[in-house]
């Protein structure tokens, strides 16, 4: 293009653009999101020490009490303290969010890197990924969970499987376009080995998009876990998770809507914060991604 606004387009990928997490406080909205998420994480970690009541303790005499000094958000149909259950509920959500992000990124990175480099692997892998992407995530997850039993691990795996193709495709596309870069061809002619080229010249290109994608996977995983619990196909109902609290609240919705709204609010704030941080990370880490990708 002939438009010459600046003397040197020297800001392509500067090392400084990768350093630090300064973007977390780069504006009022994103700062709020960071603070909210920090509070939710801290509350989840210290929940066992601060909850006013045992979240699992059944007190049939105290069923569906309204909010009071003793039960700040009231009690549920089994007389359990809702506040305590909500505080505990964050633990499962965040654990699953983080775990799914890590698993999907590790697996997706390996699949994507290998597919980006070996044609035959690519042909097979991408068909499998296409197949997995064709199955609606919720259906796939509830089917996996219902068949293999609902434990924390199976739920995490069930949520992760549909996310892997997206990560793998992302890594693959980054690798394929980076492979065309003259500096990679230069490395080939310098006699660099394949692992060295992958590690030194290709992998670094995937870091920024993966951090971004990781936050989105994290948000999606929290959401999916809640949906699974809500549908009754998630972690065992007596364990407090935001989805489980809401699932139980469905029956009493017309009597006591707060059983759905409070955990719903926490859930929404958590997912919103993670998504906002993902957007900010994308804007900060990879200006080229900013416009290209909508979300997935």
């Amino acid at each position: 293009m002939a438009v010459e606004t600046l003397p040197e387009p020297s800001t392509r990928v500067t090392p400084t653009s990768r350093s630090g997490f300064g973007f977390l406080t780069s504006g009022p909205i994103i700062t709020t999101a960071t603070i909210c998420l920090t509070i939710i994480v801290v509350l989840a970690i210290i929940a066992p020490w601060i909850v006013p009541h045992d979240p699992m303790l059944l007190k049939p005499a105290q069923r569906l009490k309204p909010a009071s000094a003793e039960f700040l958000l009231g009690t549920d149909a089994y007389g359990r303290d809702v506040l305590s259950r909500i505080l505990y509920g964050g633990r499962i959500s965040l654990l699953i969010g983080l775990g799914s992000a890590i698993i999907s990124i590790v697996v997706g990175l390996v699949i994507g890197l290998v597919s980006g480099f070996f044609k035959w692997v690519d042909a097979v892998m991408m068909r499998i990924m296409d197949g997995l992407m064709a199955i609606p995530a919720i259906l796939l997850a509830i089917a996996v969970v219902s068949l293999s039993g609902a434990s924390l691990l199976t739920v995490m795996i069930a949520i992760t499987i549909p996310e892997i193709p997206r990560v793998a495709r992302l890594v693959r596309s980054v690798v394929l376009s980076a492979r065309e870069e003259p500096y990679v061809e230069a490395a080939i002619s310098l006699g660099s080995s394949l692992p060295k080229i992958m590690w030194r010249h290709l992998m670094p290109n995937t870091i920024a998009p993966l951090i971004v994608q990781g936050t989105y996977v994290c948000a999606a995983a929290i959401l999916t876990e809640a949906i699974l619990s809500f549908l009754g196909a998630g972690i065992s109902p007596e364990i407090p998770t935001w989805g489980n609290i809401m699932a139980e609240g469905r029956t009493y919705f017309q009597i006591k809507p707060s059983l759905i709204f409070w955990p719903g609010l926490m859930l929404s704030i958590a997912i919103l914060s993670v998504n906002l941080i993902g957007d900010a990370a994308r804007d900060a880490l990879d200006p080229r991604l900013k416009r290209r990708e909508g979300r997935k």
Binding site: P7, L190, G191
Partner: protein
């Protein structure tokens, strides 16, 4: 004296709205008269495109702000005109054509309709009249088979045809001013010649004022009536073409002109008896497109290419885009695998070797690419980049880094460059780094694939000097791929001319470039812009051994 069509007076454009913003355009004044072509010439970043976009009101809004001065079109102020008024003026009084005709046309709309839009926006003609007028205009810009092209999409046309469509679109309402922003830079020389002639003829017929933006002195010599040289957002020098070319008053203009390589080949070096380091015979590369229904399509990107290169010599492969010259280079370096033929590197056949078997031979041949901004990994320091090759071949890290420092000195870069990152360097400096990286392995052959094509002419001259110096010091053999005959004339001992994947003609540069035997080579030389002018010596080319005298 004819009327002034465009009058820019003391124009200042800043980057952003603040009072202390950087000035991209810093007090530019120029005039273009009816029937006149003013060439605005300058290197990248000089502000020539910003000037023209500001006239059209097409500069990036908010980012580039005209803060003072004036730009008048036939007396009417443009800088303060409303958006609506600017829209009315565009295409009717002032029109613009751009560098890249592929991206400048909407890919999903037939070209006829794209021209039609101009008429629909600015006239009340009915559909039939509009179509007639468009077809007439398309014939006027010498497009063949206009009824078919009218319905064609841009991707179905050649680069030259697309630029003709752009010109037809720009001139269909006979504007007073045509701004041409590097309109031939993306085109091959033969097409460039036709487009330049077309612009000249149309201008003569219609008395259009043309503001022609270019970085190419050859093009300037072909088309300009007057020249304005721009640098750092200012006009350095302005005057009639002949005055500027013969007797430039400013140092910068002199340097710019002196940097333009001459088409007259340099004095030939004596025949060499040094050993042959690179030899290809009947080298070919065929691309197959597999298809489920119908036959597989085969495209021969290179066919029957035979060449030899001796130690300490420079062989040029010249040709237009699509001639297969880069394919040959990439086959030789084994970035792609040749389909047929042989490549012998220092006596050893390498065309059939597997990746592992090739490994020990890779270091004997290295390559420098065209785009200096993409040929270095932005996340790796310059020193590490240069040391990568030697480390691959077992040189200890410390030693390799020490050697990297020496190589940086060899390519005239400061020693402290070693720990810096590529983005801290200019395009020319990066190209030097890429050369140092290639030299780190002490190769026998260095392949330069359009290695100076992306550089400004003054930087290009320095990098060409560097290649010469390296060859003199290291006795390395150079395989120089270029589309630019001027560059080839100055650096090559021998040249190979390619067209459509085949070698058309080859021989000593002095012979091929002064007395071509093949029609295609003649055509190429004939199309080289400014071939009648010897820029470095500020005079026309003498007719004695001259090129243009054929």
């Amino acid at each position: 004296m004819s009327d002034i069509v465009l009058d820019i007076d003391n124009l200042v454009v800043t980057l952003g709205k603040e009072a202390d913003s950087d000035r991209v355009i810093d007090g530019v004044s120029l005039q273009v008269r009816e029937g006149e072509t003013l060439c605005l010439v300058g290197e990248s970043g000089s502000g020539k495109s910003v000037t023209s976009l500001t006239v059209m009101g097409l500069q990036q809004k908010g980012a580039l702000v005209p803060v003072s001065g004036s730009a008048r079109l036939v007396g009417e102020e443009l800088l303060t005109a409303s958006d609506k008024r600017l829209r009315q003026l565009r295409a009717t009084r002032m029109a613009m054509i751009f560098q890249e005709p592929m991206t400048a046309l909407n890919p999903v709309v037939p070209v006829g309709r794209q021209i039609d839009e101009v008429l629909r926006a600015h006239t009340n003609l009915d559909a039939g009249t509009r179509q007639q007028r468009i077809l007439a205009m398309m014939e006027h810009v010498r497009l063949p088979d206009v009824t078919r092209i009218f319905k064609s999409y841009p991707h179905q046309l050649s680069g030259g045809q697309r630029q003709r469509i752009m010109i037809a679109m720009a001139l269909v309402l006979e504007p007073k001013l045509l701004i041409a922003d590097e309109p031939t830079t993306a085109l091959d020389v033969t097409t460039q010649k036709q487009i330049l002639a077309l612009i000249r003829d149309l201008q003569r017929d219609h008395g259009t004022a043309v503001l022609f933006i270019t970085h190419d002195m050859g093009v300037v010599a072909e088309i300009a009536d007057r020249v304005a040289v721009m640098r750092y957002g200012r006009i350095v020098e302005t005057g009639p073409l002949d005055d500027v070319l013969r007797a430039p008053t400013m140092e910068y203009t002199r340097n710019l002109l002196s940097s333009v390589p001459s088409l007259v080949p340099r004095a030939p070096r004596p025949e060499s008896t040094e050993p042959i380091v690179l030899e290809t015979s009947a080298l070919g590369k065929v691309y197959r497109e597999r298809s489920f229904v119908g036959k597989a399509r085969e495209v021969a990107a290179a066919k029957d290419v035979t060449l030899t290169l001796r130690k300490g010599r420079t062989l040029g492969i010249v040709g237009e885009s699509g001639s297969g010259k880069s394919t040959v280079a990439r086959c030789i370096v084994r970035l792609i695998d040749p389909t047929t033929g042989s490549v012998r590197l220092v006596g050893r056949e390498i065309s059939g070797l597997s990746r592992t078997a090739l490994q020990p031979h890779r270091k004997r041949i290295q390559i420098v690419f065209q785009d200096p901004y993409r040929s270095l990994n932005p996340r790796v320091t310059v020193g590490e980049s240069i040391a990568e090759g030697p480390i691959n071949y077992g040189v200890p890290r410390n030693e390799a880094l020490k050697r990297a420092g020496e190589l940086l000195e060899l390519v005239d870069l400061p020693a402290d460059a070693i720990s810096r990152y590529p983005h801290q360097f200019s395009g020319g400096q990066r190209q030097r780094i890429a050369i140092a990286r290639a030299l780190a392995l002490d190769p026998d052959v260095l392949v330069a694939d359009e290695a100076v094509s992306a550089l400004d002419v003054s930087v290009q001259a320095q990098v060409l000097d560097l290649f010469d110096e390296i060859q003199a010091r290291l006795g390395i053999a150079l395989l120089f791929i270029t589309h630019d005959l001027r560059v080839a004339a100055q650096i090559c001992d021998d040249v190979v001319v390619m067209q459509h994947g085949r070698v058309v003609e080859q021989g000593p540069a002095a012979a091929v470039l002064t007395d071509p035997q093949q029609a295609y080579t003649k055509q190429l030389l004939d199309a080289a812009p400014g071939r009648h002018w010897d820029f470095a010596n500020f005079r026309p080319v003498d007719s004695s051994p001259g090129v243009g005298a054929v």
